[in-house]
Structure formats: structure tokens, C-alpha cells
């Protein structure tokens, strides 16, 4: 729309580009003087657009209206963060709505703290974090794994070797060694516990 494509002018009393700079001016006015009349212009223009977008995305009237409200609240409270040089008002407001939708969806799915929109698109805030230092611990080498394996009791070793190195099933091992399946299972469990214990000692 910002490119001069002659769209259906009869339906559009205001040209998009003029509209963008008009909306920019209103948002700046809101930021500087908290002017409710300017905000009303922005609100009236964007609220129906936001609802239409939200309805398409969420398919639910109540959620759509929640998204309109959250987005327009941000525009009202954080108008000073709008920068006309960085983009048009509709781009800015679209990205705010997109972020809110992303986080609403996470909340609806009951996802706890994972990836939030501020990390991905820091439009309305900056991240802070503390310095972190770490040093290397000891490492486990394949040789050590081999050594741990060697230190297993002979019977456990045979079972582990057949299952994890030769890739046999527990039943096959039981048949081959002519021992009950339950014995194979318990030997495997004991051996894994032992290896796990050795790995942890190595931490």
C-alpha cells in the first residue's frame, strides 16, 4: 500500500500513505500529551482491524476482543516507544498484536515459562540478565565408558553387551543364554544402575 499502486480510490477516502503519516502524528501526540482525542483516532482506525485479524487467528470472539484490548492498551501506555522512522503505525501495531497473540496461545495451552514473545521480538522492552561464569568440569571419555563396562560383573556384562552393542532383544538374550527373561531384565537393570552410579561419580 505504501507503494503507489492505484488501489480502488473510490472506497478509500484517505490514501494509505497519508493515513500512515496521520496515524504517526496521532501516536506521537498521545506519547507527548496523553491526548485522548488523538488516541480515539488511532483506536477507531485500528480496533476493527485488530478484531478482524484476531478473529482469523483465534477463531473466538471473546479472545479476539481480549487481543484488541491488550494491543490498544499497549499502544496507549507505550506510545513513546513508537518510532516512525523504523516503520509505519500499522506495522508497529501489527507486531504488538502478533506478540500478544503468541503469548496468549502459550497461556491457553498452559505452557509454563518457555519461549516468550519478548525474547523473539523485543518491540516493547529490553531484556536484562546477569553475568554468568562457568568453568569446565571433568569429562567422561569413551575409554572411561569402556572401562566402566569392563568393571561390570561378568554376567551383567554379557547381558549389556548383547543388548546394547549387538542390538539383541531381551528375549533373544534369554534364549541364547538359556536363562529366564526376568533374569535378563533384572541383570540389565542392575548393570544400568551401576553404570549410572559410575557416571555420576565422575561428574
Amino acid at each position: 500500500m505504501l507503494v503507489g499502486i492505484p488501489l480502488d480510490q473510490s472506497n478509500n477516502t484517505v490514501k494509505p500513505k497519508e493515513c500512515a503519516s496521520e496515524m504517526s502524528a496521532y501516536i506521537v501526540e498521545v506519547a507527548e500529551t496523553r491526548c485522548k482525542r488523538s488516541f480515539a483516532k488511532v483506536f477507531n482506525y485500528f480496533a476493527p482491524r485488530l478484531r478482524s485479524y484476531a478473529l482469523k487467528q483465534m477463531g473466538n470472539e471473546a479472545l479476539a476482543m481480549e487481543l484488541v484490548q491488550d494491543t490498544m492498551s499497549n499502544v496507549w501506555q507505550k506510545a513513546h516507544l513508537f518510532n516512525a522512522e523504523k516503520g509505519s503505525p500499522s506495522t508497529w501495531i501489527f507486531t504488538i498484536a502478533r506478540n500478544i497473540r503468541f503469548d496468549m496461545l502459550r497461556k491457553l495451552q498452559n505452557r509454563k515459562e518457555d519461549v516468550c514473545s519478548d525474547d523473539l521480538w523485543p518491540i516493547l522492552c529490553e531484556q536484562t540478565a546477569d553475568a554468568n561464569e562457568a568453568s569446565l568440569d571433568q569429562q567422561v571419555t569413551l575409554e572411561q565408558i569402556g572401562y566402566m563396562f569392563e568393571s561390570l560383573p561378568v554376567k551383567q556384562k554379557a547381558v549389556i553387551e548383547a543388548i546394547y552393542i549387538d542390538g539383541k532383544s531381551q528375549q533373544e538374550v534369554a534364549d541364547e543364554l538359556t536363562i529366564p527373561l526376568g533374569t535378563v531384565k533384572s541383570r540389565t537393570r542392575l548393570a544400568l544402575q551401576r553404570l549410572k552410579g559410575m557416571l555420576h561419580d565422575n561428574d
Binding site: T91, R106, Q127, T128, A134, V140, I145
Partner: protein, 225 residues
């Protein structure tokens, strides 16, 4: 030079905010390092914003809702807190006395990541808890370091943060965005004198395929979740 980028579909979905959280995180971090994809995402945002800007009508009922919404919104004062200049966040993590600059998206994990622990083959990793989205890791391969050959039960996303590594399929450089699934078997190793730091998310434990490394399989959920 960056050779491996997210797909055009991933970039579009990321710009629209419809990509999954995990993929979004990886694509976002890649865009911090790749101006080509950063520009494409910005273009996609512009395109989506134009669509959003199409005229929309409202009914009488909606107008009533808007009226009370307007009143409640404008009762709240401006958010003064955001006028404060942000504290400088650490942009690097330290490992064995070396500093690694992190892409912006990953910086918050510099403070929440777990401790480094040593693994097989000159390999170190530090976990990053992403809650329900899974566990990610910073993985560092020292010179000559390697991950035993493995395949994937789920998906593995890797972003190279510093240095180079190869895996028998390709050579990857800083910024490369790598996606692996059950169809791929690979054995990453690094010959870079500086070693190689990657950020990796796996949604299922790896499955080791060769020799004695198969012994790791029962424990791979501990190491390479």
C-alpha cells in the same frame, strides 16, 4: 559464510508469529546472525502488516464494546517504567576462560543456563531449561572433539554460534541453521583450533548407532536430551 538457512516457509511463519516456540527461538537467533534472513523476515512483517491494514467494519454491538474498552484503557496512565534505560545485559558466556558472544535472542539464557559438564570426546554441554518446550543445550566441541555417531528419534535444531564443525554430511560455519530428524545419521566433530560452540534443541533423546557408543543409549536422555 552462512550456507544453511531456515526455509522460506519457516521465515514467513516466524514473521507472522505462527511458528512453534522452539522453532521460533532458533529462527530468531539465526536472524540475529544472518542479515539475509533478517531482511526477509522484515519484508514478511511488512507484507503481513499490509494485510492487517485492510479496511474492517464493525457492528453496533462491537461499537458498544469498543466504547467501554476505550474508557478503561485510557484510565491507566502511561507506562513510565519503560522510560528507564535498560540495564546492560551480558552478551557473552564464559567457558574455560574464553568468552563467546551470544546472539541477542539467546542472551537471556546466559544467566539461566545450568553448569557446564563434561561428556565423551572433548565435549561439554550446559543445559537451558525451556519449560514445556523442552531442554536446549549449549554444546562446546573442543578441537578434535566429537559426538558419537547418532540418529534422531525426534527433531534436532542446531545453530552454530562460534567456530566450525563437520558431521560427515556437511561442514557448518558460524550462523548456520541445521535441522535433523530420524532420516539423518551423523557424527559431528570439530577440527577448528578454537573449537566450536553450538546451541541445540532436541525433542527426543539421541540414538547412538555405532560401537561402544551404543552403551550411551540408555543414558542419552541424561546427556543429549
Amino acid at each position: 559464510m552462512i550456507k544453511f538457512h531456515p526455509s522460506p516457509e519457516q521465515l514467513t511463519a516466524f514473521a507472522e508469529g505462527t511458528l512453534s516456540p522452539v522453532e521460533s527461538l532458533m529462527v530468531s537467533a539465526h536472524c540475529d546472525m544472518c542479515s539475509r534472513c533478517e531482511t526477509r523476515v522484515a519484508d514478511e512483517v511488512e507484507r503481513a502488516a499490509l494485510e492487517f491494514d485492510e479496511p474492517a467494519t464493525s457492528s453496533h454491538t462491537e461499537d458498544q464494546i469498543y466504547k467501554s474498552m476505550f474508557a478503561s484503557i485510557t484510565q491507566v496512565p502511561a507506562d513510565e517504567a519503560t522510560y528507564l534505560s535498560p540495564k546492560a545485559a551480558p552478551s557473552a558466556i564464559e567457558l574455560d576462560g574464553r568468552k563467546f558472544e551470544l546472539p541477542r535472542t539467546l542472551r537471556r539464557y546466559a544467566s539461566s543456563m545450568g553448569n557446564w559438564s563434561g561428556l565423551v570426546g572433548r565435549l561439554w554441554q550446559a543445559p537451558v531449561d525451556l519449560g514445556e518446550a523442552g531442554v536446549a543445550h549449549f554444546i562446546y566441541m573442543g578441537r578434535g572433539g566429537s559426538v558419537p555417531e547418532h540418529t534422531h528419534r525426534g527433531c534436532e535444531y542446531t545453530l552454530v554460534l562460534s567456530g566450525e564443525f563437520c558431521d560427515g554430511l556437511n561442514t557448518y560455519d558460524s550462523g548456520d541453521f541445521i535441522y535433523m530428524n530420524g532420516e539423518h545419521t551423523h557424527a559431528p566433530h570439530s577440527d577448528d583450533t578454537e573449537g566450536c560452540l553450538v546451541f541445540s534443541i532436541v525433542d527426543q533423546p539421541l540414538h547412538f548407532t555405532s560401537g561402544i557408543a551404543r552403551l550411551l543409549n540408555p543414558f542419552s536422555h541424561l546427556f543429549f536430551r
